[in-house]
């Protein structure tokens, strides 16, 4: 999934190739901040509005929501990488995850912030663990029932079952729990932290750190463990992997487990950050995440993360500049432009040419 970048870049004389990525990331972040800075305070006199803190707030907003998209996008891209299926039900897994954490936290009797740090940490670990495991299992069950029987069917067939499954998941919540918004307990206290010049709320910091942590863990898992190697080899050539002794069925099931667990984690984040969930959020979340996965280069986990953050930034930029009603159009226009110039996404390999 994440083979080393090759090609013309290594011919650059001055810079060592391994510095390119960090430099690119820093440049992109600075550029993004600059855009936010310039867009802020567009209708107010300079004296009454602190452009820097405005830009900073928007920057953090974008990182947080982008991180959530990235978590969902990872599952999309992993599933795509291994069985080339656009799993339209993945957004609904995210939505169900948010309901699992809602159910857990409300049943434990929490309604507001928990001030005891130990208890808070315990509850958080529990919420993430439960939601991730439950959704991971749900993902495996979906794969077993709806996709595995169709592994040799025409490629679009599982796409339609995926749509069917997403209808089913949505409406189980619709019929069984609520047809509208439900309040999800925001158990993390909400102080404004001041780390030097940076002002950030605890919840934003938590979401950003958690997202990066889960991504790193996933990256290490895929690249450093034997199970991860099995996943990579199955993605590259299923038959060859099978011959080399990889159990294809369990590897694919594992992929679904991890991808769905990450979506479950994103669901918990939804509840903690926004404090609300609803049975239809999966569609938009899934669509954005799918876009993110493709933007980054579908099948590429780093790309999915990058894509998620980019989409978060575009959405926030649109509203920063006062064009919130065009935010969806802005996201998809960027996507079209990126793909026109880089047909396999920002970090994509020549995946689609593979037989």
């Amino acid at each position: 999934m994440t083979t080393a970048v090759q090609g013309s870049r290594s011919r650059l004389p001055v810079l060592d190739r391994r510095w390119l990525t960090p430099i690119g990331v820093v440049l992109a972040l600075v550029g993004a901040f600059l855009l936010m800075y310039l867009g802020s305070c567009s209708t107010v006199g300079a004296g009454t509005c602190d452009r820097f803190s405005q830009g900073e707030d928007q920057f953090i907003n974008a990182l947080t929501v982008g991180g959530m998209y990235a978590l969902i996008a990872l599952g999309y891209t992993m599933v795509y990488g291994i069985i080339e299926l656009i799993n339209f039900a993945h957004g609904e897994v995210f939505m169900c995850g948010s309901f699992v954490s809602w159910g857990l936290l409300t049943n434990l009797g929490f309604t507001g912030p928990i001030s005891d740090p130990l208890l808070l940490a315990g509850v958080l670990v529990l919420a993430f663990l439960v939601s991730m495991v439950v959704m991971g299992v749900v993902g495996v069950v979906i794969e077993r029932l709806a996709y595995r029987p169709l592994r040799n069917a025409p490629r679009l067939t599982p796409l339609i079952t995926a749509i069917g499954v997403s209808f089913i998941l949505q409406n189980i919540i619709f019929v069984g729990i609520s047809n509208s918004f439900v309040n999800s307990p925001q158990i993390i206290p909400n102080p404004l932290l001041e780390l030097g010049a940076i002002h950030i709320r605890l919840i934003n910091l938590f979401v950003i750190v958690l997202t990066l942590g889960l991504m790193t863990a996933l990256h290490l898992f895929i690249n450093r463990t034997s199970l991860g190697r099995a996943m990579r080899s199955t993605a590259i050539d299923r038959d060859a992997a099978q011959i080399m002794g990889v159990n294809i069925n369990s590897t694919i099931a594992l992929t679904f487990f991890i991808g769905s667990a990450l979506a479950g984690a994103a669901g918990v984040v939804q509840g903690l950050y926004f404090g609300v969930t609803q049975f239809q959020i999966g569609f938009q979340g899934g669509l954005k995440a799918f876009t993110a996965a493709v933007l980054g280069g579908i099948g590429n986990t780093t790309g999915a993360a990058v894509g998620g953050f980019i989409i978060g930034f575009i959405e926030v930029l649109a509203s920063t500049y006062g064009y919130g009603r065009w935010s969806e159009a802005a996201v998809f226009t960027t996507l079209v432009l990126v793909l026109v110039f880089r047909p396999t996404g920002i970090l994509g390999q020549q995946l689609a040419d593979r037989a």
């Binding site: 707030d57 928007q58 619709f174 047809n179 509208s180 609300v276 959405e315 926030v316 919130g324």
Partner: protein, 428 residues
């Protein structure tokens, strides 16, 4: 083996369905039992059509409205008639669909026993239905539509294509321009806000209401600091909140409904410590107290939202306003929605018309036309749960009164402030 799986899936469904059906009594079943008791001797079986979004994200709007109709039918009997419900749902793939609405309207028109229709909820659906109801001569009463173009002007004439002078669509809510003026009145004169941040949900109702607000607010002398739209599927309002922080407006005006996520917006404002800025919205957000699940106040914060104002396009000083919500609660075990009372009112209008025209008429086709003509006649007024309602030559309610509400922290519910009749007292 494959078929065994199908069988298993169906069995699971049947079990789940029956387990859930205990709590969610279908409105048609409920009404059937209520209506049957009223009959004496030779009764005529007639139906009220309900055409609302009943599934998907708009179910919270449609279901309580349909319940309002069922409640009215169970409480009010018309001698000689057994009135049941023909329930239609215009949501397809989880959202309202204009062509499904038109199809449902045709189905209702094709059912000769349907004499009256309550619905639709969305203006976009109404645009597709008005030509059908007009051609079929079947009176429909919308509990919720407020878009100006549905009844007034050339656009409305074009909708009534078959019989431009025959009104077959009335509505009990007054139009966006009046309600927008009401929200502007609150903002400028009650909340004393001279600058406003206007946000709409990019949908017909929200945009129309926000436009109405802007127009009137400028007449009052206020300044719109910024106008933006937020797509109705948005859950992340934080970037709007940050923008809001820099503007620091006197008030926020939101054009939209609770299901578009305004409660979330308010919640995220509170999180960033900005809930001190007041917010005003239309009847799309006055959908129950802080204790009502999923209502605006319920989502906005654990204790509601201290600085919220809302308007309702109806008069407030009706006899015994609490009776309706108590009756509703007793029957459906939940608080009424924003449009339950208008749904009830529409049904009352029908029942009153039916009572007036029915003596001596048994032919269903003649009854349908008689009901239509009676309701459309501008000289008639109807006693409803929304007060006295009559309709002008376009089918608009003659009641242009807007009631103002403010959140009351002690009851955690909306508290009536005042009402203003925009016919007698227009914005100058």
């Amino acid at each position: 083996m494959k078929y065994a799986r199908v069988g298993a899936a169906l069995t699971v469904f049947a079990v789940v369905a029956s387990a859930c059906s205990g709590s969610t009594a279908s409105p048609s079943a409920a009404a059937a039992s209520g209506g049957a008791s009223g009959g004496t001797g030779a009764t005529i079986n007639v139906k009220v059509g309900i055409e609302l979004p009943m599934t998907g994200g708009e179910a919270p709007n449609g279901v309580p409205t349909a319940n309002g109709v069922a409640l009215a039918l169970s409480q009010i009997q018309v001698p000689g008639f057994n009135i049941t419900i023909n329930q239609q749902d215009d949501a397809v793939n989880g959202k309202h669909s204009a062509d499904q609405g038109a199809k449902n309207m045709s189905a209702l028109a094709n059912d000769p026993s349907v004499l009256f229709v309550v619905g639709p909820y969305n203006s976009n659906v109404a645009q597709a239905e008005i030509p059908v109801s007009n051609a079929a001569g079947l009176m429909q009463c919308s509990p919720a539509n407020t878009a100006v173009g549905l009844t007034k002007g050339d656009a409305a004439k074009a909708l009534r294509k078959t019989y431009p002078d025959k009104i077959a669509y009335v509505r009990v809510a007054t139009t966006d321009d009046n309600q927008g003026a009401g929200t502007a009145d609150i903002a400028y004169n009650i909340a004393n806000a001279k600058t406003a941040y206007v946000l709409d949900d990019t949908q017909t109702y929200g945009k129309g209401l926000a436009d109405g607000f802007e127009a009137a607010y400028k007449v009052f002398g206020g300044t719109v600091a910024k106008r933006d739209g937020v797509p109705d599927s948005t859950t992340d309002f934080n970037s709007y909140v940050t923008t809001l922080k820099s503007l620091n407006p006197g008030i926020i005006m939101y054009g939209g409904v609770t299901t578009s996520g305004i409660g979330l917006f308010r919640k995220q404002m509170a999180q960033q410590g900005l809930a001190t800025i007041p917010l005003v919205g239309g009847d799309g957000i006055s959908d129950g107290s802080a204790a009502t699940p999923s209502s605006y106040l319920n989502i906005a914060g654990p204790d509601g939202d201290a600085n919220s104002y809302s308007t309702v396009a109806a008069i407030h000083d009706i006899p015994d306003p609490a009776k309706f919500s108590n009756d509703y609660k007793a029957k459906f075990n939940s608080d009424p929605g924003a449009y339950s009372a208008p749904g009830y009112a529409c049904t009352q209008i029908f029942l009153e018309a039916l009572k007036a025209v029915s003596p001596g008429v048994t032919d269903l086709g003649k009854l349908r036309e008689a009901v239509r003509a009676y309701v459309a006649d501008p000289t008639h007024t109807f006693d409803t749960v929304l007060g006295k309602v009559g309709f002008d030559a376009n089918g608009d309610t003659t009641q242009h009164t807007i009631s103002y509400y403010q959140f009351d922290p002690t009851t955690k519910d909306w508290k009536f402030l005042k009402q203003r009749d925009f016919t007698a007292d227009p914005v100058k």
